[in-house]
Symmetry: C2
Subunit: 326 residues, 2 copies
């Protein structure tokens, strides 16, 4: 069974599709009311965000567009020190999409939502002409309840820079899939509630959090350094990259530090909290490979101290080179 | 200048596009922080909703996809008795879209947002291959502060059924555009804050509100009747339809009662409040053509008392017949 334009018409065919694909998988009192909006109860301050997901292929080792659409928005809320609670989803289906694939994606979303402790409270489905593809937009909402504020402008000289694990796997996985390379690289796509909330709930002096998605570590650190008015100084030898991802990068001439991740984040923490933060991260399965990779300093930009003793500036790439990576 | 895949890469090209097209038009402290999420302050209960917009053509008499994306989500919040406050927007741009068109759409969104009193607090832009099209997803949030609860299941036998003005114009406009017919029909797309808040702020006993979008009046009333466990009985002669829209429907064999509107709503109000509600609606420019069109009764479904003295049941259309109408 394939998606047809009539599935997006808003009449009986749409209702039947929603009932058979989504209703059973996202069962909660919010959705069941079938109103124009969900009614939720939250008190501010709240983090509120949105992201669209257009990745190809729809399914890849380690995940799929559905898991990505949940994790991406949940992680954006976490990075503000929020506790993710509610999501909305907008599906734009292309005619010709297999309904079995849509069901698999809905199932994966439901699992990722359960993993992240969020509820999908409102959704919308449209159908357009096309070649069997699918886009998903999610928005997310959660109360900010971290003891200390977590903001992009709070990094200070002396702060430690931590990453939650090896870098570049998501992009390396998607590139390998598109090129038909069998190398076993899996996307790291995951909601990061475990490690982020472990840091925040301990009341550690976490100054900035940022997930290293499009543009990778280099882009994130340039943004945090610029916003905070200081520099990030990194030790190349300390930055974790899996051997198979490094091998792919060497063959293709890519830099793992500008490659997209979907389950890794950067934490900038007060120097005195760095050891404890690293210990906490290493105890969470999703950040078992966490490392301290550098220090914030006076100055500007991102500087890499290379393995061979050089120093070089890392700039935001003009274009990260891979469309439809998320 | 046309959109290229590099505009969606998340690097410098994306930043430049966002800066030149969106930043000046949606200036507010929430967006300016450039964080992963906006931080907003609201206290529950809140209405929370999402919708995607895939209409073609992008520009049409009376509006464009940008105005539609604001009005559609704002109206869904209003229909729950909420005061719309914050929106997010996710843009999926197809390669080849003229940047001048994107600017025109962003401008129209900014105007519609100002008209509706909402702020766009978070946004995302992706670029995909394609033929120069554009999809927009919006989500919206606002506190529910109506004196009486407004819900789909609160209609009762005896309640009056009001519509805020003539039906079918949005769909008639889009169909005319696609067929190249010059008939002057304009879409009614508009945020409905004016009339809806006028009703709610007067504390009138409004039981249900629903905007008559895809599937039109027939679909809305079937849903409200089923959810409330009663019937809707309509007087055909009382239902307002503009002559030019009626003429198009007659030529094409269409039913204005199943056609989509984007600036009209149905209000089901207690019998004793009906006259005052109608007076209030008639005083608002966006609902100057409001009419009482029928009464909720015991029973089920939607019954039309026709002009020529017949009675017939109006069923939800299986497929409303026009893809990409919103």
């Amino acid at each position: 069974m394939l998606i047809q334009l009539s599935h997006g018409g808003g009449g009986g065919a749409t209702a039947q599709l929603v009932q058979s694909v989504f209703a059973g998988r996202f069962k909660n009192p919010y959705l069941q009311r079938m109103e124009d909006s969900a009614v939720i109860d939250l008190n501010g301050p709240l983090a509120y965000t949105t992201d669209s997901f257009v990745i190809t292929p729809l399914f890849f080792p380690g995940g799929d567009i559905g898991r990505l659409a949940i994790a991406g928005t949940v992680n954006d809320l976490l990075m503000m020190g929020a506790r993710p609670r509610f999501l909305t989803a907008g599906f734009i289906l292309e005619e010709g999409l297999a309904i079995a694939d849509l069901e698999r994606i809905a199932e994966s979303m439901a699992q990722a939502a359960a993993e992240a402790g969020v509820e999908l409270v409102a959704a919308d489905t449209k159908v357009v002409e096309g070649k069997g593809g699918l886009y998903i937009n999610t928005s997310g909402l959660g109360p900010i309840d971290s003891l200390h504020p977590v903001r992009a402008n709070l990094a200070q000289p002396g702060d430690a820079i931590l990453v939650s694990g090896p870098l570049g796997d998501h992009q390396a996985c998607i590139m390998s899939q598109r090129m038909g390379i069998q190398n076993g690289i899996q996307s790291d796509v995951a909601p990061l509630n475990g490690p982020v909330r472990a840091l925040l709930d301990q009341g550690l002096a976490v100054h900035c959090l940022r997930d290293a998605t499009r543009g990778g570590l280099t882009t994130v650190l340039n943004e945090l350094a610029a916003t905070s008015g200081c520099a990030a100084e990194l030790e190349e030898a300390a930055i974790p990259v899996r051997p198979e991802t490094r091998a792919l990068c060497e063959v293709l001439g890519l830099d793992p530090l500008t490659m997209a991740n979907e389950g890794k984040f950067v934490a900038i923490v007060a120097a005195e909290a760095a050891d404890q933060a690293l210990d906490i991260l290493k105890q969470c399965p999703q950040s078992a490979g966490a490392c301290r990779i550098g220090t914030m300093t006076a100055g500007s930009g991102v500087i890499l101290n290379t393995r061979i003793g050089g120093r070089r500036r890392l700039n935001i790439p003009w274009y990260e080179g891979l469309p439809r990576i998320c």
